[in-house]
Amino acid sequence: MLVSILINGLVSGGVYAILAIGFSLIFGVAKILNMAHTAFYMTTAFLIIAATRFLDLPLPVTAVISIFVTGMLGVICYKLCFDRVKVHETAVMIISVAVAMLFEETLLLTFGAQYQRVPPFVDGFFEIGGVRVLNQHFFTAGASIITLIGVWLLLSKTKLGKAIRAVDQDQEIANVMGIDVSKTSMQVMGISVILAGVAGAVTAPSIMVNPLMWVNPLVIVLSAVVLGGLGSIKGSAIAAFILGYAETLVVFLVPDGSFLRGAVSLTAMVLVLLVRPEGLFGIAFEEERL
């Protein structure tokens, strides 16, 4: 029991963390509340299905191709829609909802509403303390942790990362310092969507893929980002792990608790926000400027 809670929490927490980091990156840099973020996650899973079915390529290759195609889609959406109405914050949010609905309905038309399966990247399982753990789960957890470390390295060690952090802190000053803000925003959109794609690719084999699967992760990602403090990337990753574990605990400990899964993590978020309105790692000063 304990081992399975630990492993499952790590798996779902890791995936939520990748999603939440991408979401908070694009929010911080371009001030876009991208409700279509998890729609990109879903698109990657479907692209993998389509590629394995029609192209007959090995699975890792299709996964990489799908992630890049999703990244391209994200940048195209950014150029065609988000970038043009950037001044009106609510309009950006609504356009992203509309984009997500467009993806959902297009996938419904092409694939139908039934659940689909993606073959696992690695087969088999092994036992820890009498509990069977699928190798696929280890792969997912490992891949998410490697991705998280990769993002951290990108942000802290490279020149692009420095530019991203600068635009995140203050757009105008970054512009004065010679950073091309609109180019950086586009690059961040690409990175954020590719992160969503990675999350979609590594979880696709262990979940049921269907065109409505973007809604639940979106709620969790939103609450993780707020719980961690808007704009704090470290905070949203940690909050994603907290919510992942909370969800797993409910599923394992409460009989018939899967209905309450979303409710419990959201209650946790509401309680934390009432005690600390700026989130776990947010700065109160930042809240004023929103």
């Binding site: 984009v99 609905m101 929103l290």
Partner: protein, 356 residues
Amino acid sequence: MWFRKSVLVIPSRVIALIFGITLLFFPLITADEGLLRIITLAAIFSLYAASWDTLTGFTGQLSLGHALFFGVAAYASALLDLHLELSVWLTIPIGSFVGAFVGLIVGLPALRLRGLYLGLVTLAFPIILSGIIFFFTDVTGGEAGLYGLSRLAEDKINGYYIVMAIVMCSIFILYKFTDAGSRILRTGLLLRAIREDEMTARASGIDTIKYKLLAFGMSGFFAGIAGGLYAHYIRVAGPSTLELIFSIQVVLWTIFGGMGTIYGPVAGVFILYPLMEVIRFFPHGEEIRFILFSLILIFSLLFMPEGLTVWVRDKIETECTRCKVINMATRRTCRACRAPMYLTKDENRSQGKEET
């Protein structure tokens, strides 16, 4: 006299008047039950959208979980109707007071949170509640909901007029409540002040806590009326009234129509909702209607980011820069102070340039 001076000379008011009269005579034009049903539901949803606009568009308190008020009132009316067998004229008001009460409860955290944080906290409440509803299926009916509620009126046409009368009165009250130029109520001005800058509003002696709670209560109350009417009209109160998409839908309608105007959400609902229902009757309509819906939204927002009604209003009306009186766009001189209007037009144009 009043009518000629303040309604007939302003194009948008003429449009609103014609629209209202058309709605009142609609059952005489067609007796088709399907069409009547679509228009009635559109009226109910327009009240729901207007209540969202009061809270978010005017007061600036982002609510992404407005379905909470609608759903709670629908469930409250349904429970009162089924268990206590009260008349419709009691269940809907009590249901809306429950909605207002829930609004006040949700408003309490709003005193500490703002912006996106508030939006996400409000988004959480209906999802938490629907989790609870699925958990206690014997009281709430679970997935199927509570069904078999009593009708608003035995006759379809009477039902239509009851809904129309209640909705029109409520929307008029909301319009007056949020009208910044009103001479009777100051609330419109105060709510706008809170939206623009809460700190400054408080510094100028406005009790922001009181007015924010008032906005939450009013918004919850009118969303509750819509919820109660909806439950009695379709005779089911189900968990679909609490779904995330239902909270988002109201945001889509309002922003399409134009936020921060009461007529915007009404126009948005009366355009988008019937359109979506009519598409169903075409071949393949059922499959493509949401694709069409999202494409309409994307394109309308790309060209009219402030909403349809605001865009149309700016085309057909100009405000005289000298005396702030609204004029028809075709006039060459202001109707009050006789200042030539081309001055105004040039000024508007140059202001537009500076913004872009």
